[in-house]
Symmetry: C2
Subunit: 774 residues, 2 copies
């Protein structure tokens, strides 16, 4: 067990490194050259332009104002200054609520830490369990002295731990409930906000059954005209544009190279040459600019062809469509109800935001979905418990013997002492580290394979998988010796009542390890986050080689996003550690509080200045966050029970059994009380919003607003082709549906009417006037 001095040393190192990161950040961010790296959000919002347009060249690159360096930490209060409503407006609800997770950590752990230090630390400190236990020869550390380890077996003092555990549970649950209520209110407020969004009116319909006589578009139209006659407005069929997307991506890559060579030409005044073979290493030498120009031309033609094929070939239409309704009420009704007898066809759900749609997955049929889920469940089980096996194999191959066997011709190289020590010392670690770096990507691929239809749900799914992986391999893996698979084996061969005891015994022993972990992963990791080294380097590389116009520079920025799929599970690990150690080793708590505080400031800064969110799900992730804190709470209770059992506090332990039951019940209560706000959309809200809108904007053209909201992004660039097609569709719709006045025909040539257009929408008006009951 580590002594206080060791911990202090580790703390010193980590504080120093965090300090260095902050100083480096302070210096780098003040340089105008890096402005786009550290403030991309403002550029994307169009609120900031390149700092100095006139002035000395030097001042464009380096900030010479020495006064700004003194206040090198003043970004922290600045980050805290923006009020929450403004933050929601600036960065979206997802980001604002994501920050609340850190706040939740502070809210839970600050009072818990006070209580633990006020009650448990004196109780533990004045005990003499360690001295009496006959391990006087081992110098017990100070941390152990104020932990539960110091309380004598069978002591009556354990009652204080039990009472405090009750207090912790009630406080955590109270905070969780308050927070759930608050987030729910924020979400509903956000959804009912003044701003009109296409997803409020639109429902995603999947698994449209094939029909021999009608195209998907016609089928959708007829189905909804029959079954939602008063509400149906328009629809957009989903096209399988994956191939087209690939072409477009390839084209943009080629264009990058073209720009690179054009820049080179400008600089060197010599026409650059290149080889056409693999990586430009072999093949015929050609003029680079000519080569890329012709390649791009060729690809452009292919793209035009493919685009034509996608929009006209019925095989390219997927059995899915975005169906828009005249009112939010109509959309809310359709999204929440079942359409046909067979619950696996005509599946309706709220459409995600247009930018949140994951287009590739929209066409997977129901049976395939369930099979995929089974496959992934099995695969994830093996990934979690057996991931060490392939890594061990790779490590075996990457060892000295392995290399000598597999590639004997490398023998002379391997015998060089430097290489040898590298292989022996670093390679195995690097293999593991590489795997851990790629893990989120692997999990994301798994979620994509499972067939979720929006990026936000993909991230949520990956996050829950990542959490499970961390729980098994970081939390349990470090508590208990051996690989996850060995633990699994041990658990199966152990009586059920031994599990908590096994974990409970290990918990106090590992306190110092986890304190170090919190400092390395939490403190320094968070401080490194703010520095954004990778985007910094990438930006300058791109800036040097590719950037010609302002638009290029915009594209060279890589603000990134929160990364919910990896960020949230990491926070949850701290919740878990905090709750587990709260009653056992209160020393851990201050470290966790510092993590939450630091992370809150850093991420608030990043969200305000850097991250550009990819989507807005309206905090749909909160039920997951809540659930995982509940899991942490349950684990902490079970662990404490196990620990007290080993401490022979038999008379008091049964009182802890009530806690998990109460916690599970609390979870169910919260689920019933709040969760539906994240799954359903209340009709009252929809109706209120509709009525308000009808009163304030009676001439609103909803159809025009929605017509092209859900077009695949590759079509968005130039919607000449599909605008025609959509118009043809809308013409047909107008002639078929008797309610739409003929007036509308005159606007057929404007493919994308402004959403603020004052043009009257007769269909909307008529339906209000004619409908006698509204």
């Amino acid at each position: 067990m580590a002594k206080l001095a060791d911990i202090s040393l580790a703390a010193g190192i980590n504080i120093l490194s965090a300090f260095i990161f902050f100083v480096a950040f302070a210096i780098l961010r003040l340089q105008p050259l890096n402005d786009r790296v550290y403030f991309p959000k403002w550029y994307l919002k169009g609120l900031r332009t390149d700092p100095v347009h006139g002035g000395a060249f030097m001042r464009k690159i380096v900030n010479l104002d020495w006064r700004s360096y003194i206040r090198f930490l003043n970004w922290m209060p600045a980050a805290l200054r923006m009020p929450e409503p403004e933050l929601i407006d600036h960065a979206g609800l997802d980001s604002a609520v994501y920050l609340r997770i850190y706040l939740l950590g502070l809210k839970i752990f600050v009072p818990i830490a006070f209580l633990a230090w006020a009650v448990l630390v004196p109780v533990n400190w004045t005990s003499s369990g360690l001295e009496n236990a006959g391990i006087k020869n081992i110098t017990s550390s100070d941390i152990d002295k104020i932990s539960i380890s110091n309380v004598q077996r069978g002591s009556e003092r354990f009652w204080s731990h039990i009472v405090v555990a009750y207090a912790f549970t009630f406080w955590t649950c109270y905070t969780l409930m308050k927070e759930y209520g608050k987030v729910t209110a924020m979400r509903l407020q956000f959804l009912a906000t003044e701003k009109r969004r296409p997803d409020q009116f639109t429902v995603l319909v999947r698994n449209i059954p094939p029909d021999t006589d009608e195209s998907v578009g016609e089928l959708v139209e007829h189905f909804f005209l029959v079954n939602h006659p008063d509400n149906y407005l328009t629809h957009q069929v989903v096209y399988n544009a994956n191939k087209l997307e690939k072409f477009v991506k390839k084209k943009s890559k080629l264009q990058n190279w073209l720009v690179y060579y054009q820049n080179k030409l400008e600089r060197t005044s010599k026409r650059p040459e290149m080889k056409t073979g693999f990586l430009g290493l072999h093949g015929k030498k050609v003029d680079a600019i000519d080569y890329y120009t012709t390649e791009i031309d060729k690809l452009s033609k292919e793209i035009a062809l493919e685009r034509d094929k996608v929009t006209n070939d019925p095989k390219s239409t997927m059995p899915a469509a975005f169906v828009s309704f005249k009112s939010r009420w109509g959309a809310a009704v359709c999204a929440q109800t079942q359409q046909t007898r067979n619950p696996t066809i005509w599946l309706t759900e709220w459409a995600p935001e247009p930018r949140d749609v994951y287009w590739q997955n929209l066409a997977i049929p129901y049976v395939s979905l369930t099979v995929r889920r089974l496959i992934i469940a099995v695969a994830f089980f093996f990934l979690t418990f057996f991931f060490m096996i392939p890594i061990a194999i790779v490590q075996g191959l990457a060892s000295l013997d392995g290399i000598q066997k597999a590639a004997p011709w490398l023998n002379p190289l391997v015998r060089v002492p430097v290489v040898m020590s590298f292989i022996q010392g670093f390679l195995p670690g690097i293999v593991l580290k590489l795997f851990l770096i790629f893990l989120p990507t692997i999990l994301m691929m798994m979620s994509k394979f499972e067939g979720f239809g929006s990026i936000s749900s993909l991230e949520r799914r990956s996050a829950s998988r990542y959490y499970l992986f961390c729980f098994v391999n970081i939390f349990l893996g470090n508590l208990l010796a051996g690989s996850a698979f060995q633990q699994l084996d041990t658990f199966i061969h152990q009586p059920a009542n031994e599990y908590p005891i096994t974990i409970g015994t290990a918990i106090p022993l590992k306190a110092s390890f986890f304190i170090t972990y919190i400092m390395v992963d939490g403190w320094s990791g968070i401080a490194a986050e703010v520095l954004m080294l990778k985007p910094l380097i990438m930006y300058h590389l791109k800036n040097f080689f590719l950037v010609k116009t302002e638009k290029d520079r915009e594209e060279a920025m890589n603000p990134g996003s929160i990364g919910f799929n990896t960020g949230e599970p990491r926070i949850q690990l701290y919740f878990l550690l905090g709750l587990v150690y709260a009653a056992v080793t209160p020393t851990v708590l201050p470290f966790i509080i510092i993590f939450f505080g630091l992370a809150y400031v850093v991420f608030r800064h990043q969200i305000i200045n850097v991250y550009n969110q990819e989507y807005e799900s309206g905090a749909a992730f909160w039920p997951d966050v809540h659930f995982r804190v509940i899991i942490a709470l349950l684990v902490s209770q079970i662990v404490l029970m196990g620990l007290l059992t080993t401490k022979k506090a038999a008379s008091s332990t049964p009182f802890l059994i009530v806690l998990p039951i109460l916690t599970i019940w609390f979870h169910r209560y919260c689920k019933g009380r709040f969760e539906s706000a994240f799954v359903k959309f209340p009709l009252q809200e929809a109706m209120m919003k509709d009525t308000l809108e009808r009163a304030t904007e009676p001439n609103l053209n909803v159809k025009g607003y929605l017509q092209h909201a859900y077009v695949h992004p590759v079509f968005k660039a130039s919607h000449d082709d599909d605008a025609d097609e959509e118009d043809a569709m809308s013409l047909k719709w107008e002639t078929e549906s008797a309610t739409v006045a003929t007036k509308r025909q005159s606007r057929r040539s404007t493919p994308l009417p402004s959403r603020f257009s004052g043009a009257s929408s007769p269909s909307m008006l008529d339906s209000i006037k004619n409908d006698p009951e509204s």
Copy 2:
């Protein structure tokens, strides 16, 4: 272990007792006197009247036609003759689908039995595990010889068991899926049937928030006029009429006594006298007829007063209402959507059938519901695992010592040898038996306390509890020694991988016990069911003392109903036994097949001729049935794994792990594919039905049809009071809602318009005409 001879003897006894029951039934049912006991269903339907009105008095009571006694079993083919669609029409979908559970048993087990006897019996028979195991001194029975016990440890022959287990699983799943699909289709067909039912148009709204300015009725009306303007039609507030109901019940009891004394007067020509005290044992002597007449008058006045209070006092209105819509589409939309931000108020769900409503529970608020659920969950856990404790205490009190201690004055009586032997021999068993008889009632009370709003859901909930209880206390309880609590303790202290082994080892040993159980509980129990001894006795008692008019005789019949809450879990026990023993001891299978066959015939007869269903839930219980068979399948797989582990068939056992995973996946697939049909109602169906109805009956008065559909049964008897009130309400509604034409006012004085009335409903028509988009 029992020998074949023992089993044969038990079988003989049970076959004989079943035969005796059937003969007794055949004789009793042919007597005209018992006609109303054995054919009440037909009387209730008005299709049968008392058999002989003219003719000899003797022939009214005893059937003297000897030929009818010869064909004493011909009710069996008669029961099978009615085709299913007619059965649905005659007895409802619930009953028809309930019978399909028995059919499902036959469908699953007949092929399984053939396969088991064709493959496993030869394999087991030709093995010599028992001879070689050195237990030659114990005469191994014939049943053991053809069970898996006879296969040698570590034999390769276990592969056949594994392959057969796969076949069993696939066959069971295939049958289950087919059946689920069939029942789903039947349910949807039934719901979309030609017959109009009030619950198709009606939604039950619970947890209406209190409002200081408006009454519940006004609040409901305003809320739905605003949020479902095109669909809302009318509503009925729920009154707290529990007290009124009690009065009405008491009155009918007093009336029974009055009739009894009046009959006595007629017979004896002497005015009967009675004492007013407890049970008529002490108190003043009064003239009985006068006494009851005045009592009934007094109560009638109280009832009138209470009825007045309930309908006028706002405190008697509960925060719940039945809201009816103009179309099935409107009701389907409202039932499936969330109404307000707060998901715990304005809860909407499909209204149960009027006769299915459990009125007392309609007013329980959300928080109270979750608390109640927690309490009941804990209580049920203790009931299942610790129910032996109070019984042991009662048994202790009811023992010789206990009685002597508690009531020393009984000493002389207790010392009488007959009483002594009764106390020692029978009392403890009777106490246990009494508990088991009252168990369904206890479980039903638990479900009622939990707050379900319909009788069908109460019964479903009780059924799942009863199943759990049987699983733990009959299945596990008989497999393993000791009480359920001792088992629980053993399980907790055992490694997880030992559970299946413990159960697996016990399974083959208990085969003969379960065969006897099947014969006693299954065969004889079913045969006793058809005899209906209790209703028979009750009917004749009532007939003798109380019946004066034809209506009285009608009320004296007690046809009973299926009793889903006890019947279904008992069937499930046979599924469990069948699946568990299929691969282990195939001898069990024929006994189970005979049970399913016999029960199918008997219950089909009872459903056609006797039972009068209390409600119609449209086979809403099927997902539960399906789920419990899946559970049985999982248990059988796990048990087989455990058994094979003890048999050292280590190389083959891992192949069984795939089965539970596939089974769970299959369950999830079925849930997704079929379950929604039992929870939701597809809009397409609703719209189709609505359109059809509008076309065929354009003048239908839906409002008239629905106005009094959901009135509390106590008001139904004489609806003078509430009809006025309802009319006032409907008048108000008409003046407020602009769409309802004034024509309707002229019909205000007809409180209950016939549903076949040809009067036109202008509101329906107008809305169709005015609504430009339909």
